[in-house]
């Protein structure tokens, strides 16, 4: 795995035990991360940075962002004044 300071990667929580979770980065390879900083449930996607989950990814917000993009793009073209 790439060791990057700032690049936090989303991963799915597979199981939880105290402050540790098994997460899947989508390669089917499980990794243990520390979940002290978040309230994550099994099935949630968490953003992982240097071995620590730092936030839970909001599925609703992710979908809304995509929808917002679509709406803006479908709107009338901008005209320069």
């Amino acid at each position: 795995m790439l060791i990057v300071m700032c690049l936090a990667i989303p991963a799915k929580v597979i199981s939880l035990k105290e402050d540790k979770a098994q997460v899947d980065f989508g390669e089917g390879v499980l990794r243990e991360v520390n979940v002290t900083l978040v309230n994550a449930k099994v099935g949630d996607y968490v953003l992982v940075h240097a071995g620590y989950a730092i936030q839970v990814v909001e599925k609703k917000e992710a979908l809304e962002t995509i929808q917002l993009w679509n709406e803006i793009l479908q709107a009338e073209p901008e005209v320069n004044i």
Binding site: I3, V4, C6, T36, L37, G43, I54, E64, T65
Partner: protein
């Protein structure tokens, strides 16, 4: 959009394909990027616009996906001091080198190894026989120390607010007695303030760093639209995220209504990660700190509170380097780091200074602007 469906039982091949599909279709969709670029061209003012981001990962996305080529010539996106290892002053590397040469095991992120100190890097110290170990996170370093109780371990804690909470977690978990920290964490908003106040830089807007913001939330950026009239948008790291950030800033400029907006709502909440903030407040004080190439920035550095002095490697191992050589002869990192010049304007770029033989800190870490540009050229 099944990728986001709740409670997926297993990550099958299908999920993986869906995950990749969503990324490709949306966050990385070239057609969407093109359409967005057209919108940006339509809305861009005639005058020069200078937008600054402060995250190495943003620079990576912009350079890797060639986003600058999609923007109008007068819309410039420049890289600010968003690479943690680049802004770590030489004196703090020197302290770690001194300890390493004294026989202390130094643990650090991979990016830190080649960062030049005044005279040598940790990699040079390792070549001289010092025990310097790369870890993925501070937790791994603590585990190493637990297994080798006879040796003294120090973790060189570099990074912004994204990384600082992990240091706080491990300190509060009470690491073993043979473990201590050289806390070198920096705080981003004061550096942005410095940039906003640099008259000759003439910035028109900020793309605020997405992952720092997951921790600190939006409130610390309010000052930029309010006091400096600068549109500020927190953005994610996919190409479409960054382009949208640019679009939102241009839109604000057009309306002449600078505000604070959040493009990265899927992980950044207004209040940030309050648990992380609480833990950081417990263990750290905020003090003035030196940034490589930028000088001292007020209230921009974390140090350990008195209660945790036992874990402070400065006190435990009596090491303190006041001044170091931050900029090696001929290196122009101090100008690259505020986006004043492009790496290609440095006479040493890809000549005397390459990723294999870096002269300055900006050529070392994968978030360093020179290093990112080196890969792209």
């Amino acid at each position: 959009m099944k990728f986001f469906k709740q409670n997926l039982k297993s990550t099958s091949k299908k999920d993986k394909v869906e995950c990749e599909m969503v990324e490709k279709l949306r966050f990385r969709d070239p057609k969407l990027a093109k359409r967005l670029a057209e919108k940006i061209h339509g809305i861009a003012p005639k005058d020069t616009v200078k937008i600054c981001h402060v995250c190495g990962t943003h620079e990576w996305t912009i350079t890797h996906f060639g986003l600058r080529n999609l923007l109008p010539a007068n819309v410039e996106v420049i890289a600010g001091p968003g690479c943690p290892v680049c802004v770590t002053p030489a004196s703090e590397i020197d302290e770690a080198v001194q300890l390493a040469l004294k026989g202390v095991v130094i643990t650090c992120f991979g990016d830190v190894l080649r960062v030049p100190g005044s005279e040598m890097s940790l990699l040079d110290a390792k070549a001289k026989g010092a025990d310097v170990r790369i870890v993925y996170g501070v937790g791994d370093a603590v585990k190493m120390a637990e297994k080798e109780l006879k040796k003294e371990f120090v973790f060189l804690a570099i990074g912004f607010e994204t990384t600082a909470p992990s240091t706080a977690v491990e300190i509060l978990n009470k690491p073993p007695e043979n473990f201590s920290f050289l806390v070198s964490h920096r705080v981003i908003p004061p550096a942005m303030k410095l940039l906003a106040e640099m008259k000759d830089l003439n910035l028109n807007g900020f793309i605020a760093p997405g992952h720092v913001s997951t921790i600190i939330g939006l409130q610390p950026y309010e000052i930029f639209p309010k006091a400096y009239g600068m549109p500020t948008v927190v953005a994610g790291f996919e190409p479409i995220d960054v382009l949208f950030g640019v679009y939102m800033i241009l839109k604000q400029l057009k309306k002449d209504k600078p505000r604070l907006e959040n493009e990265y709502a899927r992980v950044v909440r207004w209040e940030g990660n309050t648990k992380a903030q609480e833990l950081m407040q417990k263990v750290f004080n905020v003090v003035d700190g030196g940034w490589r190439g930028l000088g001292t920035i007020l209230s921009s550095k974390f140090t350990l509170k008195k209660e945790y002095a036992a874990y402070d490697a400065h006190l435990k191992h009596e090491v303190k380097v006041e001044h170091g050589v931050d900029i090696q002869h001929g290196c122009r990192c101090h100008q690259v780091i505020i986006g004043k010049i492009k790496p290609t304007a440095c006479p040493l770029f890809m000549k005397a200074c390459t990723p294999q033989k870096p002269v300055g800190a900006c050529m070392v870490g994968i978030e360093g602007t020179c290093r990112i540009w080196a890969k792209a050229t």
